[in-house]
Subunit: 421 residues, 2 copies
């Protein structure tokens, strides 16, 4: 008998009818003899509606109260799903994050899970109940206040519960039926992956793929919880996220996909003295302003004046703030210039295969060059190549690379088939 | 420095704007130097909307899950009021019933408060915060499940908290600005009472007055918590409910009002053998069917056949069920007949004054008789006379009695002025 954790997002739960369909699916899993634990996000637009109400009573609401307010959403959806399950003849109990033993840091609105002590859930499972656990929330041990977990919080709740309960799998349901080699809306012949390693999924999440949040994949990898990405609208098995990229035999290592991200801006600080301390000072200022940095590049300094340039990317929404800050620092300091560009797009090729196969970088650059697309910046990891191009070239870049590495259509792309790194 | 508990009902909280007005009122009380604890019901129609959603997923939802669902409503309103308070510069903390230490029986949907251990609220008050506590809910110690308290639950929560915190007063806010000598919509010159004793308020609540729930007044009387019935739309002081009818000096004892109730039906079981056991069997059957009985009358048996008749009233919605049950028992047993009448109205005169002044009953009956209104049934307590009349005569009965006992207009009615019992 397996223990299965399922997670359903807001759009899978947006009406009474959808809730009943989800309940049927849950009962089906139980009927197959599994212990079933389900984590539900708030229904449809509930969280947005609550945020809107809050803004009407106070434009800058206290964070503790915001968490008390928002957690009502998951309370509603989980109890409704439990009721729907009961109408199909099975028994279910819903629990808040606190009742399920999700212990977090104190940081309201963006708390981190410290541990999960799911005693009450385990007891209820042993009594034969299906357990619903409110996602996106927990409790802080010191203050005893309810907390919410920030973006991707429900996915993280599900994975954390799965780890604590030693589940066999954690199924993440949304309106997407798996992880694809590229966004199917841009690349019509993108293929659904049967399986992908944790590290490759991490890279995907980090460079723009919207399917799973980075923190959720990190948690799954750390605790070795297999994830299955499935659609709540079909019975397709979806994509299994499991295993380490280290364990993939060289000859089976492939490229898993092309991800893209159009949400970033590029900031370059030109002419920083190449001495200790300058870069640190700049990054500390950016961090204190709570601006999240993605890519960072510093190339070797120019011999002539021992200065170097540092480029980083960040969300476009934070761009103006970053520029304001850096321009001020430039006026006070020794840099030559600060430039800004929010018409960039990032395209990334991901896969265990590139570790062991020479020629991938060359093929990558050649493919874009042949398409007349200029690469403005390159940054890589062991299993990823990311480049910045003009945002207007982004979608074509995705298609070009997807084709160049034969990721589409019937055949599974094999890196060693005619390419090299 | 006083400790004030305030309770706001759903209609006082039905929009963001109303919530901000309520928050202003709360902050005003705090500014006067009071410790302030506020109990909020769910906003406007929230509870009904949640019930509707529940019915869509399961027509017979499990009670435990219904309580998990409905308690979301109070969570939302209390956190929003806390946010609004913060926008006016004061600090507030919201708590669930469970967090505030409201311990209840296990009975989901209709739990009874066993005790209140408001340690966390007391701590927060000592730190200078205004405390919001979700009404209508608590927690059961054994199961650790959340429970709801049934009708009037938020009023009861407020009174129970006031008792546990030794509050100076518990203010109940609604869209009604006090307790009147009769329903002002029926009796235009009805007067607002400045004060009323616990027992008189109990009788008012018991016989149809909709202002306060019976259980809430009982709790206040048992724990000696002064109540103030006020409007959330004005600054009028409202009506103070306090003191025992025993403590009212004879010469000050007055009549406090005329209440009416058009929601009941009358059931008469004719020809019950006047022996031990028959009435008990009938009432046990009615109780097991969860039919609430209000008035009960049994007069002396007829000498001829040693049989008697028993009449009781119950909510009209339960009438058909009661009749079905009793007709079955009649067929199996020894009664002569069972009759039903749902065109009755109940009118009641209430006041400490009738204890010590002869002639009130006579005046009562004469007044109705002169108006051509037939009294079909009489039942009294020490401080109340209730009669059943035709429902079509009900409103006129209220006016007739209100006039007969000079309860209207400028002068306060004094029983000893020209009337006797």
């Amino acid at each position: 008998m397996a223990l299965v954790v399922q997670k359903y997002g807001g759009s899978s739960l947006e009406s009474a009818e959808r809730i009943r369909r989800v309940a049927e699916r849950i009962v089906e899993s139980r009927k197959q003899g599994n212990d079933v634990v389900v984590v539900c996000s708030a229904m449809g637009d509930t969280t947005d509606e609550l945020l809107d109400l809050a803004a009407q009573v106070n434009p800058v609401p206290p964070a503790r109260e915001m968490d008390m307010l928002l957690t009502a959403g998951e309370r509603i959806s989980n109890s409704l799903v439990a009721m729907a399950i009961a109408s199909f003849g099975a028994s279910a109990r819903s629990f808040t994050g606190s009742q399920a033993g999700v212990i977090t840091t104190e940081r309201h609105g963006n708390a981190r899970i410290l541990e999960v002590t799911p005693g009450r859930v385990r007891e209820a499972l042993d009594e034969g109940h299906i357990c619903l656990v409110a996602g996106f929330q927990g409790v802080n041990r010191e203050t005893k206040d309810v907390t919410t977990l920030g973006r991707g919080g429900s996915d993280t709740t599900a994975v954390a519960l799965a780890a604590a309960l030693d589940a066999d799998v954690c199924e993440i349901y949304s309106d997407v039926d798996g992880v694809y080699t590229a966004d199917p809306r841009i690349v019509p012949d993108a293929q659904k992956l049967e399986t992908i390693s944790f590290e490759e999924m991490l890279e995907q999440a980090a460079v723009g793929a919207k399917i799973l949040q980075l923190r959720c994949v990190e948690y799954a990898r750390a605790f070795n919880v297999p994830l299955r990405v499935r659609s709540s609208y079909s019975n397709e098995p979806g994509t299994l996220v499991n295993g380490s990229v280290e364990d993939i035999p060289v000859e089976e290592a492939v490229l898993t996909g092309v991800a893209h991200d159009a949400s970033e801006a590029k900031v370059t600080v030109l002419g920083i003295p190449d001495e200790p301390g300058h870069a640190a000072k700049m990054f500390r200022a950016i961090a204190d302003a709570e601006i999240n940095i993605d890519m960072v590049l510093q190339n070797v300094s120019k011999l002539a004046d021992n200065r170097t340039d540092i480029t980083f990317t960040c969300p476009r929404a934070d761009g103006p703030r970053a520029m304001e800050l850096l321009k001020r620092m430039q006026a006070e300091g020794e840099w030559q210039d600060v430039t800004y560009d929010d018409h960039i797009g990032k395209v990334s090729l991901i896969g265990a295969g590139m570790k062991s196969h020479p020629g991938v970088t060359a093929t990558f650059c050649e493919a874009l060059s042949e398409a007349g697309i200029n690469i403005e910046l390159i940054s890589t990891s062991e299993i990823r190549i990311s480049v910045l191009v003009r945002d207007t070239d982004l979608e074509e870049s995705v298609r070009v690379l997807h084709r160049a590495f034969e990721l589409g259509g019937e055949e599974e792309a094999k890196v060693y088939a005619g390419t090299g790194r």
